[in-house]
């Protein structure tokens, strides 16, 4: 939009001439051209960034009092809760912050699905987002081990054992991951090291994510490209104000949990110190992993009998693990599974309905994941797992071909202002 500002402060000007951080910031945060029609679903990217910063800050401080040793870890967390000044606040901000991070990122991802934000030319942006999601899952998993409660211990045991399905080398890989024959002190030490490192990896990925975002700019609810200056408004003050308002609402929600229901999203068994000799009656992951947990457990035991192939390589356990990883890997192919000429679900009448079905399917998977895999629950889990893949692998390509989409507006401004149509009409030729 506007050119680089003339910096009046001589110190700023001196630095900017040598390292244009001020000009860069101005272009990226102040006059960064943003589609004028973004709705509140576009708040969740910046919210995720804020939660990441809160998690890193509270995590850094928690690490000052946490002791990653099997003999002291549980007690050191209790000491943080009882003896350390504001330790309860720091820990509850961190634990609930993790839940909030996933919630915000899930909304962010489903927003991308609805408005086709993963489509060309934003595929790499989408990939980096998925890598952030994978890094988040790894971080959350190793972080959950640190309090060294029963769920920490048995969650770590179950998840590391997933790798035992690797043909021939499975057991060796599990031993290598654990640094022993079972989850023990070496495991806790390395999980702590990774839990400290990975958030900074995520932070770096966020910068790549923003870099990719700023190349082709934000998608928007209409899913049409930015064509003229009339389609955009400067990021500041319009979206800084909107993001700040959204942040205020979000923080109220977040701290309602941190202050008034800090353990609502947790599991009481994790207040029992880890006992390598007793498994809790029911192992349940944190809520944000439940849909994947349901997929993991969805494969029938008689899977091999039905298929009768490669019984060594593909047991029910193996198939469950493969499906679980596939459920995320398939998302990387989404930009090519969906080849519809239209991005936004607003102009895709059938996709719009299937989208809500898909969202409902994911919620059903989460609900199934929270319950023991027996009887009806197992059947529902299998159907929901099947639908998850059918939606992405079958419906998306079919829709791209056969769905009759609604006509798109000429431009963003044409859709939202009467005078905008004339501006965009000029751009049509180009």
């Amino acid at each position: 939009m506007s050119a680089a500002p003339e910096w009046k402060n001589p110190v700023v000007r001196w630095i900017d001439h040598r390292l244009p951080v001020f000009t860069f910031t101005h272009h990226s945060l102040i006059d960064y051209p943003t589609p004028r029609n973004l709705n509140y679903w576009w708040n969740f990217g910046s919210l995720a960034g804020v939660v990441l910063v809160i998690l890193i800050a509270t995590g850094l401080f928690l690490a000052m009092h946490y002791n990653p040793n099997v003999d002291y870890a549980f007690d050191s967390v209790e000491r943080i809760m009882r003896d350390v000044n504001y330790g309860w606040l720091m820990r509850y901000m961190h634990a609930n912050g993790a839940s909030m991070f996933f919630l915000v990122v899930y909304i962010h991802m489903f927003r991308a699905l609805y408005y086709g934000s993963y489509r060309a030319p934003r595929e790499v942006l989408w990939f980096i987002g998925l890598f952030i999601f994978l890094a988040m899952m790894a971080t959350a998993f190793v972080g959950y081990t640190l309090p060294w409660g029963q769920m920490s211990f048995w969650g770590a045991t179950v998840i590391t054992n997933l790798f035992s399905v690797v043909p021939f080398f499975g057991d060796a890989i599990v031993q290598w991951l654990l640094g022993g024959f079972a989850v023990d002190n070496p495991t806790l030490n390395r999980f702590f090291a990774f839990h400290f490192l990975l958030p900074f990896v995520i932070f770096g990925l966020v910068f790549l994510h923003l870099w990719a975002l700023h190349v082709h700019k934000s998608n928007n609810p209409l899913g049409v490209d930015i064509k003229t200056d009339g389609d955009t408004i400067p990021f500041h003050p319009y979206y800084t104000a909107k993001d700040a308002f959204g942040l205020g609402v979000f923080l109220i929600f977040y701290f309602a949990f941190a202050f008034f229901a800090p353990n609502y999203l947790g599991h009481p068994d994790n207040y029992i110190p880890a006992n390598p000799l007793v498994t809790p009656p029911e192992i349940v992951p944190e809520w944000y992993f439940l849909p994947f947990y349901a997929i993991l457990r969805a494969v029938p035991d008689n899977f091999i009998d039905i298929w009768g192939i490669l019984p060594i390589l593909v047991t029910a356990k193996t198939a469950g693990v493969i499906l679980m990883f596939a459920s995320i890997i398939v998302l990387f192919f989404l930009p090519w599974l969906d080849r519809s000429p239209v991005r936004s679900a607003r102009f895709r009448p059938i996709y719009k309905q299937l989208y809500w079905l898909f969202l409902a399917d994911c919620i059903v998977l989460g609900w199934v994941g929270a319950n023991p895999p027996e009887g009806t629950m197992l059947v529902i889990g299998r159907i929901a797992t099947l639908y998850y893949f059918v939606h992405l692998l079958v419906f998306m390509p079919l829709l791209s071909r056969y769905e009759k989409t609604r006509p798109l507006p000429d431009s963003i401004s044409a859709a939202v202002t009467p005078q905008g149509s004339s501006q965009s009409a000029q751009a049509q030729g180009a």
């Binding site: 401080f61 000052m64 009092h65 003896d83 350390v84 000044n85 504001y86």
Partner: protein, 186 residues
Amino acid sequence: MADTSTTTAEGHEHEEDRRDFLLTSTIVVGAAGVALTAWPFIDFMNPSADVLALASLEFDISTMEPGQAITVTWRNKPIFIRRRTAAEIDEAKKVPLSDLKDPQADADRVKEGKDEWLVMIGICTHLGCIPAGQKVTDSKGEFGGWFCPCHGSHYDTSGRIRKGPAPRNLEIPPYAFTNDTTVRIG
């Protein structure tokens, strides 16, 4: 933007005031929020309740003989407790204050009526080493008190600096005699 230009100059001014007010109040409330948020993080690094709980120590001195010294730990620091002999007390009392680098009467370094008992933080006021002089075999320096091996500070029988680089006398911790045989430090 187009419709604001149609308002009168007066109306325009009024709108700017409202906007300025909102901006200023947002910044003020935001700054207050940041300050309130910062405090838990700062206080988090202060000594915790379990550390503060160890901040006082009771010690039974009934078994100590005259001339004996014992080192106890208080707040992870060595505390020198010395039951001084009559000769040591006399020596400490007769030193003129003008001879002292950090002038302080012996009476100001002990509890009233408890001249025998010298209770000090056993850390050299120069650079934090622990002076020798607690054990019978230790060098007690030129003044019969303590001698810091790091840079050669000599302390007298009242723990006052007499020679060497240390700037101040050995520090007296807060303490009290809870009865004739028990001293409470901290």
